[in-house]
């Protein structure tokens, strides 16, 4: 501690571990606070959540300077040091993709804990403990460079989420929680088998037992197609359930509707991204042959597109606000998977940006629904109307987030969708053409919702006395709104952060594609030089 630079370097070397375990430390500390002392618990939990966000901030400049360098950054640990007997290691590291998702996680984690201040009145201590544990679990998924470690976090994180839904959820919480747990577990156990296959394959190829992801990258693509397709499917089921892709999505509405607000925010904002992250981190680079197989790809893209349209259509007819938002997630995540399985730089870049954006905007949407729910204890759309007159600030923020969610330019949602669709178009016009329907329907269901809730006259007497947002609530939204605008206006940093990992990924999956090389002739034609007059 004595010498500053030394300390800083240490922190830099272990920054990921610090980010990862700070929430867990918070949970451990909370264990020792008496459970009747709710105020102290709240303050402590919020402090840790905020601290969790703050310690992740130094990552931004540190990552920024090396954003174009290849490989994983901030790598910690050596392969096989955790459980040497099986070759599993405590190994963390991030690239651009995981960096963005980690920042999203820390931010949303803080916001959702902040938003629970009043919403959670019972069993406060347990709530915050589980939430902080959940935070660590999610971060671990994005940081792990060891397949085993990844799997442990992947599964361990289910438990706190399950409890958050199951204990603090709505009337059908048990059904929803069990469904969530079983469904996602079903996927992940199959993935475990896939991981083990890769593990043995790597051993047969190299004679070394290891779960190190960078090592497995080297051998897994050599698996012959007949096996790889099954492996791909095993992984696919796990990730598709998590995303959720079209026929595997039914746990999502139930989970969302029953979960407490903060749980929904985290569920939509972060948990779903684990599925897409899984596709990017594992499915694509491990099984390039399968992914690029025309039939497989057609199925993947087909499911994505069906998800986009189907999710939007189902959203359109929902009577429950939260369910509507939940189905809209299906639609939005359909865009993410579409981008992923377009397998080109644009599609994947767009997909990651869309994931971040979805975290921001849908997270905000769930907060928005939560605000009304807290005041009125109902989410029936029919119960509302004319809220604009009663809660103008709230209405404004809602409008912004709705617009962001439907992909209005200059707000964040557009950037991702645009890039994905451009990527999809390059692969197939039909894909883009069909997916665009989702963009139209997004406007339809969101605006219709807005109309029914916010427009009109207040004809339900219960709504007359609703009070507008409190400063704490505004504080919850503020970062999201600012980010929505910031990303919408100046997304270049995101593109730059994603450029290297995405290009590398595409290079792995489709070596035929030349990346990072612009043909000389496509430079802007000389006929119209982009000059500035003086």
């Amino acid at each position: 501690m004595g010498c500053g630079p030394r300390y800083g370097r240490d922190m830099r070397e272990h920054i990921l571990s610090i980010i990862l375990f700070l929430p867990l430390a918070g949970a451990a500390l909370l264990l020792f606070v008496p459970r009747d002392n709710k105020h102290v618990i709240r303050v402590l939990a919020n402090a840790f959540a905020l601290a969790g966000f703050l310690v992740s901030l130094p990552l931004v400049p540190w990552f920024w300077v090396q954003r174009f360098q290849p490989g994983f950054k901030f790598v910690e640990g050596v392969p096989g040091t955790w459980i040497p007997t099986i070759g599993a290691g405590y190994m963390l590291g991030i690239d651009g993709i995981s960096f963005l998702l980690i920042m999203l996680t820390t931010l949303l984690g803080w916001i959702s804990i902040l938003s629970s201040w009043n919403a959670i009145q019972e069993r406060v201590k347990e709530y915050y403990i589980w939430f902080l544990i959940l935070q660590t679990g999610m971060l671990g998924v994005f940081m792990a460079l060891d397949f085993f470690l990844f799997f442990v976090f992947w599964e361990a994180m289910l438990v706190p989420m399950y409890l958050l839904i199951g204990i603090w959820g709505g009337p059908r919480k048990l059904y929803a929680a069990i469904k969530f747990f079983l469904y996602t577990l079903l996927g992940s156990v199959l993935m475990l088998l896939g991981i083990l296959f890769l593990y043995f394959h790597h051993f047969r190829a190299t004679g070394v037992y290891t779960f190190s992801i960078p090592e497995l990258y080297k051998t897994a693509p050599n698996i012959e197609f007949q096996s790889a397709i099954w492996l791909f499917l095993a992984f696919f089921v796990a990730f598709a359930i998590k995303v959720p892709m079209f026929p595997f999505h039914t746990w999502l509405p139930d989970a969302h509707v029953e979960a407490p607000t903060a749980g929904s925010v985290i569920l939509a904002g972060v948990l779903l991204k684990m599925g897409t992250y899984g596709f990017l981190r594992f499915s694509l680079p491990l099984f390039p042959g399968v992914v690029m197989h025309p039939k497989v790809r057609a199925w993947m893209v087909g499911l994505s597109i069906v998800g986009i349209i189907y999710g939007a259509l189902v959203s359109l007819m929902q009577k429950d606000m939260k369910k509507l938002v939940a189905y809209s997630s299906v639609s939005h995540l359909g865009f993410c998977t579409l981008g992923i399985f377009a397998v080109n730089s644009l599609g994947i870049t767009g997909s990651v940006i869309q994931q971040v954006n979805h975290g921001i905007s849908t997270g905000a949407l769930f907060l928005i629904v939560g605000i009304l729910y807290e005041r009125r204890h109902t989410r029936e759309i029919a119960e509302y109307g004319g809220i604009s007159s009663v809660m103008p600030v709230y209405a404004t923020i809602t409008m912004i987030m709705f617009l962001s969610s439907m992909g209005l330019p200059l707000l964040n949602g557009f950037i991702g969708e645009f890039t994905i669709l451009q990527g999809a178009w390059i692969e197939s016009r039909l894909w883009a053409g069909l997916s665009v329907i989702g963009v139209i329907l997004a406007a339809a269901y969101l605006l219709w919702l807005y109309q029914r809730v916010f427009f009109g006259v207040v004809n339900n007497p219960k709504n007359e006395k609703l009070h507008d947002l409190s400063p704490r609530e505004v504080l919850c939204f503020a970062p999201l709104v600012v980010l929505a605008f910031a990303i919408g206006l100046y997304p270049k940093p995101l593109f730059q952060i994603l450029e290297q990992p995405v290009n590398q990924l595409v290079q792995t999956v489709r070596p035929g594609q030349v990346n990072g090389q612009v043909h000389a002739q496509t430079a802007v034609p000389s006929a119209a030089p982009g000059r500035t007059g003086n």
Binding site: I83, V189, L193
Partner: protein, 514 residues
Amino acid sequence: MPLTLSQMFTPTDYFVALPMIMLTLFALGILLIDLIVPDDWKWTNAVTALAGIGFSAYSVFQIQRTFVQVGPNFPGQPGLRNALFVDRPAIYFFYLFLGGAAIAILMSVRYLETEREHRGEYYALLLLSVVGMMCMAAGADIVLIFIGLELMAISTYVLVGFLRRDRRSNEAALKYLLLGAFSSGIFAYGLSLFYGVTGSTNLLDIRRHLTQQMLYSSGHPDAVTIVALLTVMVGLLFKIAAVPFHQWAPDAYEGAPTSITAFMSVAVKAAAWAMLLRLLLGGMTPLRPLYVPVIIFASLATMTGANLAAITQSNLKRLLAYSSIAHVGYMLLGLVAGTPQFQSAEGIKGILIYLLVYTFMNLGAFGVVASLRRREIIGDEIDDIAGLMSRAPIEATLMLLFLLSLAGIPPLAGFWGKYFIFLSLIQTGHYWLAGAAVLYSVVGLYYYMRIANAMLVREPAEREPVRLGFGNAAALGLTALATLWIGIFPNASIRFVNWVLNLDRTGPLISWLR
């Protein structure tokens, strides 16, 4: 001219029998001391029993140490004219038995006091049954194994029926005894046929003979051998409670005193496994192509039957009984792993680790159930555990830990059992079995979560806080710590199992006896 006893038996013979001798001595001691101990001081019997277990464990440790000193190529210590063969797996199982028994004893004190059946015989029988288990795990002679089995079984019958005034306990004991006796009849019949086809009661000779027979018959053993194998396997599958020979287990588990349920579900089960591994891998290794289909059938039937049956249970102990049957189904898959001719070492490793972690988590779970027992309240229905989180947060949290571990959620110990089983299946190409097993593990989660839901979500029916005795607290603490520790840092356990299987140095030692 026959040799005299001192010529026949060397100090080594006593050395390898020392763990059993210690337990016997202390058991007898308890029987004597119990006569003079006043009713309020019956807990001293538990202390004595624990001391016996401690001494016994120390002797096991001494045996283990001589192995280390003698060197890695020395797989085991035969003694008592090859009747006892204390090899590394036997030592492993000794530790498991002793650990399971110790924790069960810790749990028993308060439970027996509540039941007002606190008597010294209980501990004596417990210790003597461990002696039986040791014979099963280390016996190299089917006579010894059989008699060890009977010693364990008869002690357990009595222990199950120890609550004489409780009709459920009576019935459980009677059922267990009738079925147990019936199955050991079948088992003994099979052993007699084995003796008939091989001409020896020693496992080494049996194996030698069977190998030759398999060689001569080019892999198609004659019908009598098959019947011998199958009848023996019925006995074995009965003891480990595999479907369709499992039905005694839920009844016995439900009716028995909870501490004995815990003991049965870990130590007795581990002993049955030890015997099964002894016989199948020690004596009947050449018959592997024959028994694998039976095992596959039993495993699938067990996973299906037990998981489905567990779903509808409303009694905690019964539910946990079915859960422990289901775990047997997973473990059996470890025996399947490998080619038709050769057993995969990873599979056995899976079984051993499974038994280890299972010991802790299951003891823990039953420990929590035992702690719910109070006067007038049996506390073993799911309704009784409702709202436990608000009544007793620590117990509830621990229970949650154990349940999740039983469900195989990482990073808890239970995960590692399943992990190595799946690993071995994947390694040897049994993908479909692995797939079925993981799907059943998802079903398993459902009923564990039913308990968790009741505990965490439902409102308590009563507000009376749960009081833990010292012994119970210690038992829960130990098991929880082990569940977490093995879960997060399994390396030591894996290394120990590697040592047990001789995987650490010279490659797998699958044949139990060399």
